[in-house]
């Protein structure tokens, strides 16, 4: 399932996939895979992404 919340949070901060990837220390393809729902990130990476984008885990990754 696509993670549109991550994609829109990244776009809201005017960040490219590459910029977000550099900020959290992964490859651009990994950010792309997370946004497309092809890869399920570890909690460590989720936290790093949330910190970079100024969001909570619930806001970006929790499916209610």
């Amino acid at each position: 399932m696509k993670n549109l919340r991550l994609k829109s949070a990244r776009a809201a901060m005017d960040m490219s996939q590459q910029q977000l990837a550099d900020a959290v220390g992964v490859s651009r393809q990994t950010i792309n895979a997370i946004e497309k729902g092809d890869y399920n990130p570890t909690i460590k990476l989720c936290v790093a992404i949330c910190r970079t984008l100024g969001k909570t885990l619930d806001e970006l990754f929790w499916d209610a």
């Binding site: 651009r28 792309n32 890869y39």
Partner: protein, 175 residues
Amino acid sequence: MGAEERMGIVAGLTVGLAVGLLVVALLFRKKVLDCTFDERQEQARGVAFKYGFFTLMGSIFLYGASELAVGRWCDALAGGCLCLAAGILVFAVTCILKDAYLSLLERPRRIITLFALLSLSNLGLGALQAAHGKLVEGGILTFRAVNLVVGIMTFVILMVYVVNFLLRDRETEVE
């Protein structure tokens, strides 16, 4: 082939291997080569390694079985290199298809250049050996075919990488 020539070949191979290892170690030390992968890449490379390992096992079995079935058709070094090439090829192609071939600090242009140089030099040496008629002696593929095998392997990896790079790498940022 005399005993002296055989010893010379073994000595040459050993020195070549040692120099190769030294160069790779130096490249790692100078941070030209880097093996830092992220969590998704590590996972994908683990799967690729598994595929490569089973391919290596399968090809060693096939090599052994083919010798039993049809007799000796290549010398041990050429046979070993063929099996290794099959395993490495499967590992590399799987990594490329899963976007896990390059580490975080490596850049595509550098890798493409490196593989192009490796491929061209090995194919050139292989063609030279073929022109001198040394690839096959007495109906047996000799160790001199190793350059050709490595050249073909690096060329296939290069082609898969370039095609994958052109087809898939650009689509991601657009989405």
